[in-house]
């Protein structure tokens, strides 16, 4: 059971988090969609500190429109960017 399924609209949580994070800053606060569910993995943000990383977190491939990420994007409007993002970094689009 996962919080999101393929096609769901999601937003990357905008909040900062101190320490080791696996979500790049340029995606924070950006909206996209679930492209695929990649599986469940021990949380690398905890593993980085020698912790167990359990419970495992769901990892998704999330799609973004490039013009939604970069201000003044000059490439083709149909350009996409795909990034692997853990569930705890995602929220349903619209939620705040």
């Amino acid at each position: 059971m996962t919080a999101f399924t393929r096609g769901d609209r999601v937003r990357v949580r905008p909040a900062g988090k101190p320490g080791h994070v696996r979500t790049p800053d340029y995606l924070k606060g950006r909206s996209g969609w679930i492209s695929s569910v990649l599986g469940h993995f021990p949380n690398p943000e905890d593993l980085a500190y020698g912790l167990s990383g359990i419970p495992a977190r769901t990892l998704y491939r999330v799609g973004f429109r490039q013009p939604d990420i970069w201000t003044g994007y000059e490439g083709p409007a149909g350009d996409r960017l795909y990034a692997d993002v853990y569930e705890h970094w995602l929220e349903p689009e619209g939620e705040r």
């Binding site: 900062g16 101190p18 790049p24 800053d25 593993l47 970069w70």
Partner: protein, 99 residues
């Protein structure tokens, strides 16, 4: 609040695309990392975290970051002490300088 390494998409100057041969100490740094991983003393997640938290991150080259981060982790885990590392480094430096 993003880390010093987390600069994807940030404005940048020209990119230095020049190449250099891999040096022996860099191969050694890679090998030590592999050995520590093989013995279960260090993981890639831990190493990445240590690299990102180096205070002089921006001044260091790729494998300089690797070795500095490995040193930090070994001390953090109590496998070596900073004094032991400094003593050995001093010994090697003296040997290489021939004094």
């Amino acid at each position: 609040m993003s880390g010093v390494h987390d600069i994807g998409g940030s404005p940048s100057g020209p990119i230095d695309r020049s190449q250099h041969e891999v040096e022996d100490w860099e191969r050694l740094a890679d090998a030590i990392n592999g050995a520590l991983g093989g013995k279960g003393l260090q993981t890639t997640d831990q190493h990445r975290r240590a690299i990102e938290s180096l205070p002089d991150y921006k001044d260091l080259g790729y494998y300089e970051r690797w070795t500095a981060a490995t040193e930090k982790l070994l001390v953090e885990k109590g496998i070596l002490t900073q004094a032991e590392i400094d003593e050995k480094a001093g010994e090697l430096e003296r040997r290489w300088s021939g004094s």
